[in-house]
């Protein structure tokens, strides 16, 4: 790459692209948190697809390619889509998922039709609209970024102002209504913010993949925290990170569409979060399950050795490890567990492959119920087995 060109790009285009992608990630990360928590992730998908005919109609009506005009069209169409989904679910027996699918495909199909129509009309200036399909960060102008900044500011301010209301709405809308909150208003406000956040990202990510930016950062953030405030901030950070890196990557590589690049980056974040996040991560869960399995194996072996010791009435008598395979554990598992138990002093090796439980191990599997009672009778399980009198009696065997 020619160096001077790169410098130039860094100066203007890249800075604009980075800023735009940052705003996109910020607004969709924040509002996506609520969409995910309210189980309305798919609403974002329907809204973004529904925006396409709005863009095309705005262009057809005004013949202008100015971002504010096209995005106003997107906003109106997305909002109309949301309104229709809610009307369909409220007045008919059609369920939410079907209503979303219906609106998504009808609006998107209509949008594609309009787009084809516009392109057939020819005129080189009309060709640019298909960048809204898969997004083209490089086409962002400073003016576009200003519009995006306005949308993002509205989203952030509203979420701050309605913090506790939105929290309650997401957790328990019925209770919110019992408290006298205007739930219907809050719901439409939240949906409007979702549409707004989607519109902010349309130019960069495109209508087809925009829903990923609503769902993925929030889903990744949920893995790392159990607090709503932290989740919102993390969602914003993940969104910013994915948006910026994806947009820069696609701007620096010729013919790499921005939307898919951003989505791949954010998918990577989700995968890492699903695997590695403490507590909720799969690796973590797997490690815990393994530790538990190890504990169960250890308990099984200890119980067997205790039973054997009681049967022989001796803590000195060594038992071959093969006997312990009757527990259903593999030889490797038995050997491994025995070594672990030996290192913690619960079993000991009598000779080559003969093992016995220690007094400490016996107390572990046969805990004395009442300490006082034991003192009175001197009858703890370990005491009982290890009693020299007993061993002497059984000794000659």
């Amino acid at each position: 790459m020619a160096l001077p060109l790169f410098d130039l790009a860094l100066d203007y285009t890249l800075r604009t692209v980075a800023l735009g992608a940052m705003l996109l990630g910020l607004s969709s990360g924040v509002i996506g948190t609520y969409a995910v928590l309210r189980r309305q992730s798919l609403l974002g998908d329907a809204m973004s697809h529904a925006a396409l005919p709005g863009i095309a109609l705005a262009f057809l009506l005004t013949q202008s390619k100015e971002a504010p005009i096209l995005l106003s069209g997107a906003l109106a169409a997305g909002w109309l889509g949301a309104l229709l989904v809610s009307a369909i679910t409220r007045t008919t027996r059609v369920k939410l998922d079907s209503a979303l699918g219906l609106i998504l495909s009808v609006f998107f199909g209509f949008g594609l039709m309009l787009l084809t129509f516009i392109q057939q009309q020819a005129g080189a200036s009309q060709a640019g609209l298909d960048r809204f399909l898969f997004g083209q960060a490089a086409s962002l102008m400073q003016r576009d970024v200003a519009v995006m900044g306005g949308g993002t500011t509205i989203v952030l301010l509203t979420v701050l102002l309605y913090w506790k209301e939105f929290k309650l709405l997401a957790f328990d809308p019925d209770f919110a209504r019992v408290l006298g909150l205007r739930v219907r208003f809050l719901e439409s406000l939240l949906t409007s913010l979702l549409v707004l956040a989607i519109v902010v990202g349309l130019q960069t990510v495109g209508v087809v993949l925009m829903s990923a930016m609503v769902v993925a950062p929030a889903a990744a953030a949920r893995q790392w925290t159990d607090r709503l405030g932290v989740m919102v901030v993390l969602g914003a950070l993940f969104g910013i990170l994915a948006g910026t890196s994806g947009a820069l990557l696609s701007s620096l590589t010729p013919r790499l569409p921005t939307g898919p690049t951003i989505v791949l980056v954010v998918t990577g974040m989700v995968i890492v979060s699903l695997l590695l996040a403490p507590n909720r991560g799969l690796v973590w869960t797997w490690a815990r399950a393994r530790a538990r399995a190890g504990q169960v194996q250890a308990d099984t072996i200890l119980h067997h050795l205790a039973a054997l010791a009681e049967h022989h009435d001796s803590l000195e008598y060594g038992h071959p490890s093969a006997v312990l395979r009757t527990t259903g554990l593999s030889p490797q598992q038995v050997d491994h567990t025995l070594r672990v138990l030996e290192s913690t002093g619960l079993v000991r090796r009598i000779d080559q492959d003969r093992w016995a439980i220690t007094p400490a191990g016996l107390i572990r599997v046969r805990p004395p119920l009442h300490a006082a009672e034991i003192e009175k009778t001197g009858d703890s399980p370990a005491h009982r087995v290890a009693n020299p009198a007993n061993t002497a009696r059984e000794g000659p065997r």
Binding site: L37, R39, L161, W163, K164, E165, K167, L168, A170, F171, D172, D174, F175, A176, R177, V178, L179, G180, L181, R222, T225, D226, R227, L228, V230, M231
Partner: protein, 274 residues
């Protein structure tokens, strides 16, 4: 409560209430008048409309016909005097928040727009958690609560509101015997303060012990009134369609009812009474 206009008005007054999902009536022409300061059990079989009745009183469901008054006024004007303890399963317990935060949600109504819960709300939430024996768990993530603990968190959230009428949907569901005793004591304490508690209840054996009023419901109102007047064999048979066995209701009716049931044969499948 400083001003209590219309002291004589019933705490909850339901008149001619009909609720329908599509064509199917779920509640049909319900009348129910509950004076202040009683502990009322709503009893009826599955699908009788018990939860629907609560939701209709709260204004969460729009009825086809009829009206609901809380202390003589529509519920929209009495939000500060009524609270709700929903069934545990009605929310997603994997929501990222902790016990104290959920209980503080009970203060959101009076806080109004823009104000966040502060120290005072925190203190009240902790006091409410104390009442249900959950103060030590105030920092606990709600996804880590047992069923009984979830129930008590919801109870504390309602207590924080400090209202006059509490509507509870199966407050004893899934709680152990000890917790049930504690919740009953709490409800009776509320009644002693003049509060009204309306709870959906399933255990016929404890109705007489826990509650002083009862509403027998099966889509229609079977009977509503003080337990010792209304909780009769006759009414139970009407509510449960005659298949429910005996032993819960008044002695005088029991003998006759037992006789009639035994005559019917073995399809009653034994008596759940002790």
């Amino acid at each position: 409560m400083a001003d209590r206009p219309n002291v004589q008005a019933p705490a909850v007054d339901v008149q001619d209430l009909t609720v329908a999902y599509r064509e199917q009536p779920v509640l049909w022409d319900i009348d129910m008048t509950v004076p202040p300061g009683v502990l009322l059990a709503i009893v009826g079989p599955n699908g009788a409309g018990k939860t629907t009745l609560l939701k209709a009183i709260l204004g969460l469901i729009r009825p086809v016909a009829g009206r609901v008054l809380i202390f003589g006024q529509p519920v929209e004007h009495q939000r500060h005097r009524i609270s709700y303890v929903p069934q545990r399963g009605s929310v997603d317990w994997d929501f990222p928040t902790n016990v104290l935060d959920v209980v503080m949600m009970g203060t959101y109504g009076e806080l109004g727009w823009l104000r966040r819960p502060g120290r005072r709300e925190r203190e009240r939430a902790l006091a409410a958690l104390d009442q249900v024996g959950m103060r030590e768990l105030s920092d606990r993530q709600i996804s880590q609560l047992s069923g009984g603990q979830q129930q008590r968190v919801f109870l504390a959230r309602a207590l924080v509101q400090n209202v006059d009428v509490y509507l509870m949907d199966e407050p004893f569901q899934g709680v152990d015997a000890l917790t049930e005793r504690a919740i009953v004591a709490l409800l009776q304490h509320l009644r002693s303060q003049g509060k009204t508690v309306i709870a959906v209840h399933h255990d016929l054996q404890t109705v007489r012990e826990y509650f002083d009023w009862i509403m027998l419901l099966n889509v229609r109102r079977i009977a509503c009134g003080p337990v010792d007047q209304v909780f009769t064999e006759q009414n139970l048979r009407l509510t449960y369609g005659g298949r429910l066995a005996t032993g819960f209701a008044r002695e005088t009716d029991t003998t006759a009812a037992l006789a009639s049931l035994t005559r019917k044969g073995d399809d009653t499948n034994g008596s759940p009474a002790l």
